[in-house]
Amino acid sequence: MEREAAAVVELRDIEFAYTKEDTVLKSVNLTVQQGEWIAVVGESGCGKSTLVRLLNALLQPQSGTVSVFGEKLTEHNAPLVRARIGMVFQNPDNQFIGETVEEDIAFGLEGLCLERAEMERRIEVYTGKLNISSLLLKHPGELSGGQKQRCAVAACLSMEPEIVVFDEATSMQDERSRRELLDVIRDMKEQGGYTIFSVTHDVDEMLAADRIVALQNGTIRADCAPTSFFENKEWLRDCGIELPFRLRLEQQLKARGIGQSEISKKLQQPGVKQAVEGGRVRDRLDESKREEKIE
């Protein structure tokens, strides 16, 4: 039964269109192994969000098959699959259903038909992990965007999914919250057990992923490791990605004959350095003085 590594997600010859005229996805094939972190990238309107919405049958393809956890996705098994796939969306306000953080997390757990004691346990564990234990009784209006988004992540993880999809989850966040959230994803990756999809415009997020799936006009333009992706100027241009400053500098230096040797070694992995600094930021989270003020 066991293949070398179980494919968690398998998309075969996917075609998808909202209306007859414009096809959003064309002949998409994708296999994702357990534990991978996939960054789905591309210009706005290229079909990124559509792609991830196929995974838990929020959308159904016109043709082709979606298999998740080795099972072909049908209308019949969609509810079961959804329980194993968590999603975090862009706007934290529009996924906050409860009146308080506690109730919002409980909302998903109620659907799993858990006992009260188990709900309490999970709420405690996951608010702890996301560093929002002190906010349990807060109304969303009293939370900052970053806090709300961490609440959304806690709500998602508390349902103990095997696949977690971040659909532009960092794009509405300010810089600090963006980094915090990125650290959360890094931790999840490190901890293992999660297969992660992140739809993103954020270069740091792309660099931190294991693999980049780049879409252009509904087809997969590139599917490779971040390092090779960022070396290909054409891909970057087609996907609306501007090289981050650090990589631009590195290229400039290379062009001037500086940096092949030890000099650039230190700069090669921006992810590493930021991960260290990110850790520091997170320690400071608790003194969340920046709570909320009316902007």
């Binding site: 532009e168 509405m172 415009h201 609306g240 400053f245 500086i258 921006p270 003085k289 920046r290």
Partner: protein, 372 residues
Amino acid sequence: MIGWMKVNARKKSNSEADESGRKSTRIDPATGGSEAAAPIGIIPAGNPQPTSMSEGDPAIRLTDVDYTYQAGSPFAAAALHDVNIRIRKGTLVGIAGGTGSGKSTLLQLLNGLLLPTGGSVEVLDHALLPNMQKPKLNTLRRRIGLSFQFPEQHLFEDTVEKDLMFGPLNFGLAREEARLKAVGAMKSMGLDEALLKRHPLTLSGGQMRKVAIASVLAAGPEIVMLDEPTATLDSAARRELIALLARLCREEGRTILMVTHRIEELMEVADEWIVMHEGRAVFQGDADELADRAEELEHWGVAVPEQFRCWAEWTARLPQLAALPLPRTAEEMAKRIEEAVRGFAERESEPEDEQQKESEKQPNRERSKAHA
């Protein structure tokens, strides 16, 4: 008038104003309290040469500004404290700060959407003071445009053209003139005229954003304020938009205020930076001064831009770089590094040991301390 002269007399370098500004707050009420207590509509602040656009001309001056939401109610929430800011005409200013730092409130004070609850706001030749009778503000608002965070908030008509003409018509232009302004604004934002007949909500995200900004430009403002215009755009679109804004500033001579939480993206083009933190303007100065206070940035809730990081890493290895101003572009930085590396290699090829590295870091660190 007296108001300007008094403020001018206290003119200080920005970093100084940060520390001593508070002191002068205490002095001011004694000497200048009376003028603040006599609010009478818009006070023309008597700029001697309104036509000249020289560098020193202030476009905006905030003196000891406080703002409290719902002042006097149980839900009162202070949003700004003691803000002292001065912005010259024709400059491109980046305003950074985390969520809730007061950035958006600041912008809304500048065009009179909000009136300060303390201090004075002087914009072009208008002054906005606490408790003043809500003045007719259209003469001011025609000259200072504000683009809100979400483009959808600007687009409520059924064609792009109507949306663009909304401002000019309100400011009293004839239809034909307004139409010309709309076309001009589209050009300024690098948009195709054909879009004018489209329904705004059928545009792509990037186009919608540019149309929203064009709707502000159509009125021909001298000052353009933008609240996080790059959020939710992809990185290439962001760069393109910033290039457009820089053009508005350099070629059309407009003053641009852009709120962002990514200092990095605006680094190349911003003349000056303001950092807001917990309702205070904790920093005003240029990129070099900001680089000197890079350590405080995280505390202020903004990310240290990569330019600073890379430059700091290189100055740590090549101490002669520390004396140079911060290069704004990757190309320029590479050039400076190249020069330093070549010079270094020519002079001596000593092996670097840890101790030397340590000593190299020293001057840079001392420099930043001196500024802080």
